[in-house]
């Protein structure tokens, strides 16, 4: 069996002697006899590193890695630059704890500060925190920043990812009835329905940009409607799209949140990902979780430290702005390295490749018999097609090692195209479907 314990039998004898007892078991004398485990745990016996590695390789082989992925819906396949993996596997970053001791954690604190700076740039907001668990919990935490006794109703567009809505609903346990869903019309948030529902008890309005169906929401117009009632405006954004689209800042959002996974994090069967959160200066002190700030040391040298801690659970306990303690620091570092490697031109290029590839593929797909776009609105890198037999389409592709879009129902598929699939590969996908249709006839 493997073990990471250093004490030898001799060490143990010496230590027990110093303590003045004769066995390790004596140290557990405070545990009542009734609960002391008198049997071996019924779990597998320990194994050597070699055996464990072989076992895990075997389990990994039961998963299928698709070389071509045309599915997004909250988890996106993007190119991860080699430098990203190299930096984020540095053991100092990997094995450190939350930087409570600032003098000995300057590297980490500076990296978080740099991450916050880049998130603010990307979103056009004033202040960012050091991250939360994922895009969905970021949305739920953002809502918590806005609610109070008077303004308690939460308006969420149905264009928001269904799982994000589920998480929001869970976070509103006990006050679920304050959650109001605003329907979509032709793929985007229905402005008339929004105007109908919004009022002086509305705490906030949350939309997703681009929305779950890939459609680009009229985010600035929605912002105007929201601000007329003095409610807060939360935008849940795809960070890659932000390289190109009007920023939450420009749309007058009060809080920008989103799923940071596209910024250099692998698909990883859903986690760990990265919830980013940024706000206006006005709402800065309501942000949950860790925040790194710039200051100086006693000699006047620039330095970084965790700040605004009076918001946090270890100081405020039940009055804290959130219970969050651990965040996704290493994922935030990943995003920062990714954005550094991409730079402004690479971020725009990635967005442009995604959008152009997606539009090319959508056009080609719609040349196939029975395929058409569900919506006519402007979209980014995801879109919904209507076709006769969605399940069959996906099955045909799967046989060719292609993970097709996400099936929404019998006739609707939500596709996603990124920079990972260029013309040749997209043509192959369409050819496979065309050949299949030919055989069917």
């Amino acid at each position: 069996m493997g073990s990471y314990i250093l004490n030898t039998e001799r060490d143990k004898r010496e230590m027990l002697l110093e303590i003045g007892i004769s066995s390790v078991d004596e140290l557990f004398g405070e545990i009542p006899a009734e609960i002391l485990l008198k049997r071996e745990l019924e779990i597998p016996a320990g194994r050597s590193e070699l055996e464990v590695k072989k076992r895990m390789q075997k389990i990994a082989a039961k998963n299928h890695v698709f070389p071509t992925i045309l599915r997004g819906a909250g988890a996106y396949s993007h190119y991860i630059p080699s430098i990203v993996k190299s930096v984020t596997s540095k053991e100092e970053f990997v094995t450190a704890y939350t930087p409570y001791q600032a003098e000995m954690s300057q590297g980490l604190l500076q990296a978080i500060f740099e991450y916050q700076t880049m998130i603010c740039e990307l979103t056009g907001m004033d202040a960012s925190n050091a991250s939360v668990y994922d895009g969905a919990t970021a949305a739920a935490e953002a809502i918590a920043m806005c609610r109070d006794k008077k303004r308690h109703r939460v308006l969420v567009s149905e264009g928001v990812h269904p799982q994000v809505i589920e998480v929001i609903r869970t976070y509103l346990t006990g006050v679920e009835d304050t959650l109001v869903l605003i329907p979509c019309k032709e793929g985007a948030t229905d402005m008339d329905a929004l105007k109908e529902e919004i009022g002086d008890t509305t705490a906030c309005v949350l939309i997703q940009q681009p929305n779950f169906y890939g459609i680009i929401e009229p985010a600035d117009e929605i912002g105007e409607i929201v601000h007329q009632t003095k409610a807060e405006y939360i935008m849940h954004c795809n960070p890659i799209a932000m390289g190109l689209l009007k920023t939450p800042g420009e749309c007058k959002a009060d809080i920008a949140v989103g799923e940071g996974q596209p910024l250099g994090l692998p698909l990883s069967y859903g986690g760990p990902y990265l919830g980013f959160m940024a706000a206006t200066e006005k709402m800065m002190r309501k942000l949950p979780g860790r925040i790194a700030g710039q200051t100086t040391d006693i000699e006047g040298k620039r330095a970084f430290v965790l700040t605004l801690q009076a918001r946090e659970q270890h100081i405020r306990r039940e009055k804290a702005s959130s219970n969050i303690c651990s965040n996704q620091a290493l994922c935030a570092l990943t995003a920062a390295v990714y954005m550094s490697a991409m730079g402004p031109s690479g971020m725009k290029q990635t967005a442009s490749l995604c959008m152009s590839n997606a539009h090319y593929f959508a056009n080609e797909l719609c040349n196939l018999k029975g395929f058409r776009m569900e919506h006519k609105k402007e979209y980014f890198h995801e879109f919904v097609t209507i076709c006769p037999d969605a399940a069959k389409v996906l099955e045909v592709l799967e046989e060719e090692d292609i993970l097709g879009g996400l099936m929404l129902d019998d006739h609707r598929i939500l596709w996603c195209v990124t920079e990972m699939t260029a013309k040749e590969e997209l043509d192959r996908v369409v050819d496979i479907l065309r050949t299949y249709q030919g055989h069917e006839e």
Binding site: M1, L27, I31, I35, L37, L41, I43, P44, A45, G46, V52, M56, I59, F66, I69, G74, A75, Y79, I83, V87, K90, E92, V94, E103, M104, A111, L122, Y133, T170, Y171, G243, L244, L245, E250, E259, Y269, G271, G293, A303, V305, Q313, H314, R316, R317, E318, S322, N323, C325, S326, A329, C331, L333, A336, S340, A341, P344, S345, L353, S356, L426
Partner: protein
């Protein structure tokens, strides 16, 4: 040191992506960002050197001893990271068909089976991303349980005053009122106060056992029984499981719900603050309320089971999967023989360290400790002016991460030490020798400790200005005059 945005040159970049292979699609200008995008314009060389320099200014478990109480900073085995980096795990889409993600489902199921046996629970979810997220989830289970029984007056959660700050914060998120239960002079739950607080408005109790003072509550069976008799549920904060793993199980102590910190007890790295994983286990009668999907086994195969009575999702997809994978790798390596060895050596190391310090420093609660112990520097501070903070800063100069300071809140000038089982006697001896020297220094040259640290990249920081006039991002106007190349 420069920030990365202060490095590089205009139009410098890394070449990473191909040219367009399809016609360029141009969006209507009104949809596009007008704001310039100021991100670093740097080469790969500069990125590599920048982060190497930053890494040189971080102290991780790999750099040296890290006895940060309550955080279980044990060694993070490298095989765990290697397995997590395998494409067969890292490149799996969370929404791909279940039969193409069979390996991921097997990982979740096997981790559930092992961890429920270790904790004495019946079912477990891996949705929560961290301990506090697990607490929130566990309290939702409590809420669902009472609601299903139409027992609607249960609005209070009892929390000992020695508890982690996350406990009351999590309870408040679910809308509960928090009742603080004082500790006795021996650091245990005050049974009289507990009895007085219990009633038909009690939703449940949250307890860490051993508690944050490093003490195992000998009355645990009576405590959990009293809560049950009052109609409440018992929640186990698993932050300190390292002390009893393989020797005692929360399920046998009378707990109904447990959260674990895979990034503490199960060796997954802390990543500078995360990602962690905070799975929640529960007894059979609560299993139907678990959030998200559950993994079911059918012979050799696995599938996801939607939970009809679920409290709802607490996170997208199936949680921090790669962290669970690392923990499973660790569990399979150590196996059943290894579990009691963890707690045995963790508790041995802590008691040895405490014994060597106790003639000089004042131990807050003398006697036998579990995996950690708390010193109080109250008297030292009165005598010399040297505080727990000063002592911590002094420790930094020796390449040792200081203990947790000023926690638990009920101990004045607290330093909380947790050596963990993955440290050697030599490492502990050296740390003790340093602390004893520092104690002498406090008597003889207290002003020297007030100046510490002097050999770190920066001296002590102005935290007050940082909070009063927060600078939370870099501004282009600022020129780095004070930074050192």
């Amino acid at each position: 040191m420069r920030l990365i945005v202060e490095s590089g040159q205009k139009n410098r970049s890394c070449t990473l992506l191909p040219e367009l292979s399809v016609p360029e699609y141009r969006m209507e200008a009104s949809l596009l960002r007008g704001q310039e995008l100021h991100l670093p314009e740097v080469s790969e060389t500069e990125i590599s050197r920048h982060y190497t320099a930053l890494a040189g200014r971080v102290h991780g478990v790999n750099n040296g001893f890290y006895p940060l109480g309550s955080c279980t900073m044990k060694y993070n085995p490298k095989i765990n990271d290697e397995i997590a980096a395998m494409e067969g795990f890292s490149n799996i889409h969370p929404l791909q068909p279940e039969y193409t993600a069979e390996g991921c489902l097997e990982v979740l199921k096997e981790a559930e089976e092992i961890l429920t046996e270790i904790t004495g629970m019946d079912a477990m979810t891996f949705q929560p991303a961290a301990g506090a997220h697990g607490e929130f989830t566990g309290l939702l289970l409590m809420h669902a349980y009472h609601t299903a029984r139409k027992d609607s007056g249960r609005t209070k959660i009892l929390v000992p005053d020695s508890a982690h700050g996350t406990n009351p914060a999590s309870a408040a998120m679910v809308g509960y009122t928090i009742i603080n239960i004082p500790s006795t002079e021996h650091g245990l739950v005050d049974l009289t106060a507990l009895k007085a607080a219990l009633g038909n408005d009690t939703a449940g109790l949250m307890l860490t056992n051993p508690n944050t003072l490093g003490l195992f509550d000998t009355n645990i069976l009576e405590i959990t029984r009293l809560v049950h008799e009052a109609g409440g549920l018992n929640y186990y904060d698993g932050a300190n499981l390292n002390a009893v793993i393989g020797r005692a199980r929360p399920g046998d102590m009378g707990f109904d719900i447990v959260h674990l910190n895979l990034h503490k007890t199960f060796s997954t790295p802390h990543g500078g603050g995360g990602p962690g994983s905070g799975p929640v286990g529960c007894k059979k009668n609560l299993a139907n309320y678990l959030p998200g999907n559950r993994v079911a086994r059918d012979g050799e195969n696995h599938y996801l089971l939607q939970q009809e009575e679920s409290v709802g999702r607490v996170k997208m997809f199936e949680g921090n999967f790669l962290i669970v994978l690392r923990a499973l790798t660790y569990l399979l390596t150590l196996g059943k023989e290894g579990m009691a060895d963890i707690s045995g050596n963790a508790v041995l190391n802590a008691n040895y360290m405490m014994k060597r310090l106790e003639d000089t420093f004042e131990v807050a609660y003398p006697g036998v400790c579990m995996h950690e112990f708390v010193l109080t520097l109250e008297k030292l501070k009165e005598e010399t002016g040297v505080s727990a903070l000063d002592m911590a800063k002094g420790i930094q100069e020796y390449g040792i991460h200081p203990p947790t300071m000023y926690f638990p809140n009920i101990v004045h000038e607290a330093l909380m030490l947790e050596p963990t089982e993955t440290e050697s006697k030599e490492t502990i001896d050296r740390a003790v020798d340093i602390m004893l020297q520092l104690y002498d220094k406090a008597q003889n040259e207290p002003e020297r400790l007030k100046e510490a640290p002097i050999n770190q990249p920066v001296r002590r920081l102005d935290e007050v200005t940082a909070a009063r006039k927060p600078i939370l991002k870099h501004s282009d106007e600022e020129h780095c005059e004070t930074c050192v190349e």
